[in-house]
């Protein structure tokens, strides 16, 4: 193997200084978002902080579509944790919740005390402290967002998760980029002169697998996010594509055409044994594991056009899952196992959208209104999905909630951004 071009340059400190390459534009929210006053946090240190934690938290909550932060200019009082809160005043302002915070620094370690108040119940919901180094102030903000989101919605927040995506600068320059879920703190994991695609996270969030053309042919790689150690795991003639980790992290499913035809295989990462799963003369590709790891859902054109099928690993029995539309591909299963998310084209519109199908009833719902939508990836809490689309002639990432009520875009400022993959929960 000729290992031509791997320039590895990722450092948290470096990426802190890089301007955000993605910016959030909220295009649609829910009808009745919860009103929350995020009071500017106190700061008991010298100089100006590099990050405004309260602002980041307010943006996180707003982006979820479920919250409407009150403009800080309209706040009548600026309480800190421990201060008495006059609930009636906040009720008049329309606030349903109040978040206060105070940041201190001791021995270069930053301590944020933060409190959530429930205005309707007229009581303190919780009072907590979180600490981190200077380079992790954004991480502190996302951590606080997760706590607030989970307390109010009952759903675990995904503000502290990561995303990975491919950025194509031009036809000779590609980057595999890891960033916070809000697109900030991008850091380049791999830079290459050749295309990369299909990044996918290990279930423990430590590693990713992806396809790279750097050897001149497509090959599957595994790379550790922290150490950046990487390994080429396939080098077959033909397709080496669409790698996805099994739920228990012990296997990859992938597509190989080494036997002459694109078929689904699994690779046992310990024994390095490949097992062929499908046997059909048509295209079988884009495997995704069922939540229980007992079956694999994949794209096949064995019926003449691409549709979604499910193969049970123990029996090899194949069942067709999609019937609506003349193009259904790249399936992903929601964390609760109830919904199938995919690229869908209806015969009527002829355009490609992201759709959700209820696995039990078969009911299909189109979630997006953008064009050329592809590569959906679901947040680990199942509330949102990210996908690739085109906007003003450029490849960008966009998000939509699984009930289609919330939509936002993450526009790129440089290259074409594509192939997003949302990490699992990282703690």
């Amino acid at each position: 193997m000729i290992n031509r071009i791997i320039i590895l340059c990722a450092s948290l400190l470096l990426s802190m200084t890089v301007l955000a390459e993605l910016e959030i534009q909220i295009t649609q929210g829910v009808d009745n978002p919860t009103s929350i006053a995020v009071v500017p946090f106190g700061w008991q240190g010298k100089g100006k902080l590099p990050e405004n934690i309260a602002n980041i938290t307010a943006s996180d909550l707003e982006r979820s579509g479920l919250f409407r932060p009150i403009d800080p200019d309209n706040l009548l009082d600026l309480p800190r944790p421990g201060d008495k809160v006059f609930y009636r005043d906040w009720s008049i302002l329309g606030a349903e919740y109040i978040l206060t915070g105070n940041l201190e620094v001791r021995n270069n370690q930053y301590f944020l005390k933060y409190e959530l108040h429930d205005v309707f119940a007229q009581k303190k919901a919780f009072s907590l402290t979180v600490e981190a180094g200077l380079s992790e102030l954004r991480a502190i903000a996302h951590f606080v967002s997760d706590k607030v989101y989970e307390h109010i919605t009952g759903i675990k927040g995904v503000f502290s998760t990561k995303i990975i995506y491919v950025e194509a600068i031009n036809k000779d320059s590609y980057k595999l980029v890891v960033a916070d879920a809000d697109g900030e703190r991008p850091s380049v994991l791999v830079q290459s002169k050749h295309p990369m695609l299909s990044p996918n996270w290990s279930p423990d969030g430590t590693s990713v697998t992806y396809v790279s053309f750097e050897t001149g042919r497509p090959a599957i790689f595994i790379q550790n996010i922290r150490t950046q150690a990487r390994e080429q795991v396939t080098n077959f003639r033909g397709l080496n594509g669409a790698p996805v980790w099994s739920p228990n992290g012990k296997k990859l499913a992938m597509v190989l055409s080494k036997d002459g035809n694109p078929e689904i295989y699994t690779l046992d990462l310990k024994t390095r044994m490949f097992t062929r799963i499908t046997k059909h003369f048509s295209i079988d590709t884009e495997p995704n594991w069922a939540r229980d790891g007992q079956s694999i859902i994949f794209t096949s054109n064995r019926g003449g056009k691409p549709q979604i099928y499910q193969v049970t690993l123990a029996s090899g029995r194949v069942e067709r899952l999609t019937f609506e539309g003349d193009y259904n591909a790249r399936p992903r299963v929601s964390p609760d196992g109830k919904s199938l998310i995919m690229v869908h084209r209806s015969e009527r519109s002829g355009t490609f959208h992201i759709a959700s199908q209820d696995i039990a009833t078969g009911d299909l719902r189109i979630l997006t209104e953008t064009h050329l939508d592809e590569s959906p990836t679901i947040a680990p809490n199942g509330a949102m999905l990210l996908y690739a689309t085109r906007y003003k002639g450029k490849g960008i990432l966009a998000a939509v909630s699984l009930d289609a009520g919330v939509k936002y875009r993450l526009p790129s400022k440089k290259g074409d951004v594509r192939e997003p993959a949302w990490s699992p929960f990282l703690y």
Binding site: P262, Y327, F352
Partner: protein, 163 residues
Amino acid sequence: MITKAFKQTMGLACVLAVLSGCSSTSTQEDAANAGGVTTGSAATNGVNANDNLDGLANLQSVVYFDFDQSMLGSETRAILIAHAEALKAAPRSVRLQGHADERGSREYNMALGERRGNAVRDFLVLQGVDSSLLETISYGEEYPAVLGSFEKAYEQNRRVEIK
């Protein structure tokens, strides 16, 4: 008079046609290259018995496909027959690079690009080309020939490049 004038005009037209025909043969290579987009005529441009070594340069090196299809049309088959003749006369290694347009999902398009490359490979082998000379590689939708999200671009991007 009218008839005579008509005959003279026709005669002149014939002479011009022959002349332009002659001049076009001298620039045949340019014409074939410029015609990389069109289909069909290139096959007849082609390869005669004593022109084999230069034949490939004159052949249309890209063939096109319908959306989500890897079937070879009659024009494509005519082009490939000419390629097969040239390869049999002067064997060399050839890469068949399969591509798809940007619509649909990326990995499915990788498989579709391979399907197209294999369809070209299988046809060439049927024509008597040594299969060990042919390698298929798919780039899916990663390298469009024409940028843009419109049908004219898509038509140019659903292709196999014979290299």
